[in-house]
């Protein structure tokens, strides 16, 4: 879980790019994925993300993330595919009954949705893996004019993911020491068995947040204009990469409207 948001220190060209460029890249991928319906084009977009991860030297770390995304998308497709009835029937799960009918439009539609999901979700961990959070905050605040407290909240919530995972671990251990079982088969019981974990997690989290707020206040948080120790410069390379991305993006959209890329 924590790998989704973790910075992976490397000295690659991707790491050296301005966070703004990488944010732009992530945004471009999201926009493009909304235009296209052809699973092949979407697969191409996903391949480009994998290539960027490779160039950044973090493919090994990203592998479990990508695998997880593919799995979730697969599940999603499996759940959706039987509910689309338009189009020609390709095959049915139980022949002759009409149960589990899969149509060509259904298959394509689901594949597109699944692939779109992957593209939208996959760029984020690559962005976080190659960008230090503080650099991202500086960009969010200085360039995109997002109020500092919001940007800060976003960042700290990421910083606390590992802490909460640890807390959760402790809580699970404490409750299972009291013979609490989490492996209930019954769905309702399974749901109820979350309470002994969720309530302590909520209570300890609120306490932690309170203490953190106090600690921040004593260090002048939110008093007004602030400075930043490090500011990542937007360099010529960034300008080049951005224009390149813009050109490719526009070209793809134009091709889309000409009916060449769907």
């Amino acid at each position: 879980m924590s790998v989704v948001a973790n910075y992976i220190p490397r000295d690659s060209a991707v790491h050296r790019l301005s966070p703004l460029t990488k944010l732009g890249w992530s945004f471009l991928l999201m926009t493009l994925s909304c235009f296209f319906r052809d699973p092949l084009v979407l697969a191409g977009l996903f391949a480009s993300i994998v290539l960027v991860a490779l160039a950044a030297g973090i493919l090994k770390e990203m592998y479990p993330v990508f695998k997880g995304l593919l799995f979730i998308a697969g599940l999603f497709i499996l759940f959706q595919i039987f509910f689309i009835s338009e189009g020609k029937t390709l095959f049915t799960l139980i022949p002759g009954t009409g149960i589990g009918r899969v149509t060509d439009l259904g298959l394509l539609g689901c594949l597109a949705m699944g692939a779109r999901m992957i593209v939208i979700a996959a760029s984020f961990p690559v962005l976080m893996g190659t960008t230090q959070i503080k650099d991202l905050v500086v960009v969010l605040v200085e360039k995109l004019k997002i109020p500092y407290p919001y940007a800060f909240m976003f960042v700290t919530s990421l910083r606390f993911v590992p802490t909460f995972m640890q807390e959760m671990d402790q809580i699970i251990q404490a409750q299972s020491s009291r013979a609490h079982r989490l492996d209930n088969k019954n769905f309702i019981k399974k749901f109820l068995s979350i309470c002994p974990l969720a309530i302590p997690l909520m209570v300890t989290s609120v306490k932690k947040a309170e203490r953190m707020a106090i600690s921040m206040e004593t260090r002048g948080f939110g008093v007004g204009k602030r400075t930043n120790l490090h500011v990542k410069q937007f360099r010529a390379v960034d300008a080049a990469v951005c224009s390149g991305m813009a050109a490719i993006g526009i070209a793809m959209v134009v091709l889309h409207f000409r009916g060449i890329l769907l």
Partner: protein, 278 residues
């Protein structure tokens, strides 16, 4: 009661072993303190006792059960585990239901659960609070609620991970006095602490861990009078033991408490004065 044989353990995904081959056994009715520096593996070892963690090499046997073949839930009848932070487990709207959660998980009848809640609450002095919301109690009281919810499962072995942390001296002593009483009733006690005065006051046997191995395993007195070994693991004996060791020529009888050394010093001084007078 507890039998540890050549125990090795490492966490998944980490190459370094936290426990590197340790062995000892603890008999029924013992009162054992487990001490060592942070990172020595104390908590990791404690968690082996109720199968929260299981050996990656060697074995741990609790009352005849191999922890690798038993679940934490099964071991809960044998081993009660008091954690450092009570907030990690309190979730019920009343103290009574909180204490009854363990027995309920053991699938006891309503009458049995009520009887056990009553008994456990009395043992920790919370009878007056049974109807209250545990989250609104003080930290010391919450720790007692957690303690009662362990006792209500009637474990033979009690494992306590820094039971006095975050509490004042008085609250800490009260918890330890309850533990002492349980020990007198025949329960086996294993506890972890950084407070050497507490160890000297309560434990009969001390196991010193250092980097995943047993460095010393002996009576309280024998351990605290081996400062050269304790030093390796950055532990200091209690103040009184340190003081007595600064006077090797006086041959004190290895005192640990103020009362013990006080008596010796008084004897020493008055004998000498008596001799002079004669």
């Amino acid at each position: 009661m507890i039998k540890v044989v050549d125990l090795h353990f490492k966490y998944g995904g980490v190459d370094l072993e936290v426990l590197r081959g340790l062995g000892f056994s603890i008999e029924k009715g013992e009162f054992v303190a487990l001490i060592g520096q942070n990172g020595a593996g104390k908590t990791t070892l404690l968690k082996q006792f109720n199968a929260l963690l299981t050996p990656t090499g060697g074995s741990v046997e609790i009352a005849g059960l191999d922890t690798r073949k038993s679940s934490t839930g099964e071991l809960a009848r044998k081993v009660g585990f008091l954690f450092q932070n009570p907030d990690h487990q309190i979730f019920m709207p009343t103290v009574a239901r909180e204490i009854g959660f363990g027995p309920k998980n053991l699938q006891l009848s309503k009458a049995q659960i009520d009887a056990r809640v009553e008994e456990a609450a009395e043992a920790v002095g919370l009878t007056a609070y049974l109807g209250q919301n545990p989250l609104l109690l003080s930290k010391g009281q919450r720790q007692r609620v957690a303690f009662a919810s362990v006792l209500s499962m009637k474990p033979e072995i009690l494992v306590l991970d820094e039971p006095t942390t975050g509490q004042d001296y008085q609250e800490g002593i009260e918890i330890m006095e309850m533990v002492r009483k349980l020990n007198e009733l025949g329960h086996t006690i294993v506890f972890v602490t950084h407070d050497m005065e507490l160890v000297a006051a309560y434990a009969r046997r001390v196991i010193v861990l250092s980097r995943g191995r047993v460095l010393l395993d002996d009576s309280c007195r024998n351990v605290f009078y081996r400062p050269e070994i304790l030093k390796q693991t950055n532990l200091f004996p209690p103040q009184i033991a340190r003081l007595a060791q600064m006077f090797p020529e006086r041959h004190f009888e290895r005192p640990l408490t103020v009362e013990e050394i006080y008596r010796e010093i008084v004897n020493l001084s008055e004998n000498k004065l008596n001799v002079c007078c004669r």
